[in-house]
Symmetry: C2
Subunit: 250 residues, 2 copies
């Protein structure tokens, strides 16, 4: 019996999130289990690193499974990709130590949030970005980001539905940029790296920093919002379609 690590990319649009649901609705975890079970000829379940929400995408979520097989670790990606649907594809596979745990051993995670800016909705941008009309001010967002980097209690930046007791997390990096996408079209990309993220945290960070960018929240208000430990004080939760889990580092 050996343990194998999968780096998984997916288009979350048509899935009810990563985690298998009791009602049998489509999930990323379910696709991985089904493909492995078909490949190995026996029920094989995975342990995922990040339980991304319905509609959230990934370039590099991580899952592990245990198997007694002659398939070399680095070939699982090719074998599984012939079985998996177009919306879920393995980017890398490798054998790891039997004690490796995708959640507990994660050192840092990087997410990106994409916002598309144009007067009218652009159909080819809707699937992977949240649409807004106004360009944000990167200077103001940079000032606000300065208050968020470091170790803080992020209670104000997580859904009240969260089950986690400890809401202290560390943000190592918070970067943002605007890229031109043609005549009157722009994309604002927020990239955030931290040691872990609470429920909806990146989507609330994106909504709050965008509000800062359009003048609805002043950068100097961020320390007070953090200190209040009150979800109602931060900005809106941006929708899942703009969110990408980019990478998990171990």
């Amino acid at each position: 019996m050996a343990r194998y690590k999968l780096t998984v990319a997916y288009d979350g649009t048509d899935y009810c999130g990563f985690q298998i649901q009791p009602n049998g609705l489509p999930t990323i975890e379910g696709e991985l289990r089904d493909a492995l079970t078909k490949l190995l000829g026996q029920e094989t379940r995975v342990i995922g690193a990040s339980r991304t929400d319905a509609g959230v995408h990934a370039y590099g979520n991580v899952a592990v499974f245990d198997a007694d097989t002659t398939i070399p670790g680095d070939r699982f990606s090719y074998a599984l990709n012939t079985i998996l649907p177009p919306a879920v594809k393995i980017q890398k596979s490798e054998e790891v130590d039997a004690r490796f745990h995708p959640q507990y051993d994660a050192k840092q995670k990087t997410y990106e949030y994409h916002v598309f800016i144009s007067e009218h909705q652009v159909p080819t941008a809707l699937r992977y970005a949240h649409h807004v009309k106004d360009l944000p001010d990167l200077g103001a967002i940079g000032d606000a980001a300065g208050y968020l980097i470091g170790e803080h209690d992020f209670t104000s930046f997580c859904s009240a539905k969260t089950e986690k007791e400890n809401k202290v997390r560390t943000i190592y990096e918070l970067q943002n940029r605007i890229e031109e996408r043609g005549d009157g079209r722009y994309e604002w990309i927020l990239s955030v790296t931290g040691n872990g993220f609470l429920y909806n945290m990146v989507r609330i960070l994106a909504g709050t920093l965008y509000f800062v960018g359009i003048g609805k929240i002043r950068p100097e208000e961020i320390p007070g919002i953090l200190a209040a430990k009150d979800r109602a004080r931060a900005g809106m939760t941006f929708p899942p379609n703009g969110l990408f889990l980019v990478e998990i580092q171990y």
Copy 2:
């Protein structure tokens, strides 16, 4: 009665191309006709500038219609977008001269072809780019592009199914670049501007220039391929999902 010009963006994935089909399958032209007919209360048809193929996308195709209405020209975009499906959205609307014709008055068109490069397919890249494994050499492609710019008979670069007699077209600009998309992922973007394009011409140009980029065709072979006036001499026709009609200039 006045004439109105619409600049139309769409996601072509689920459409059988721009032009209305006799079998009633979904088309962009059909969506525009249905939305205008609903808005204006009477059957209103459009004349399109470019009959893009099934699966091809657009930021700026152009269509006109005639109507006797009190709606100001620049408000049609907002009114139609409340009726149109998410995959088709008007970017701009304006009243134009009654003699304006979207096909005959077009001076130049710009297309982009997107290719995503990665070892394994990346699900969120599949809808709007063709997937390949090998990075092309931009130097070789630049050399080949030099032979294609200008006025040429493009018989070798159009589908044998084309109905057009005259296959002489002028390419004004042919640019290409590679953008990084994260760990081991790249996008090759080909941009081409010309006075008009034959059936499948941009997709054959993309396929041929990519073949040049990976060494399957040498740049110096391009003049011979053009002179042969033989479709079999050029590279493959790349699939429709990577193609975007970016802009039509009048």
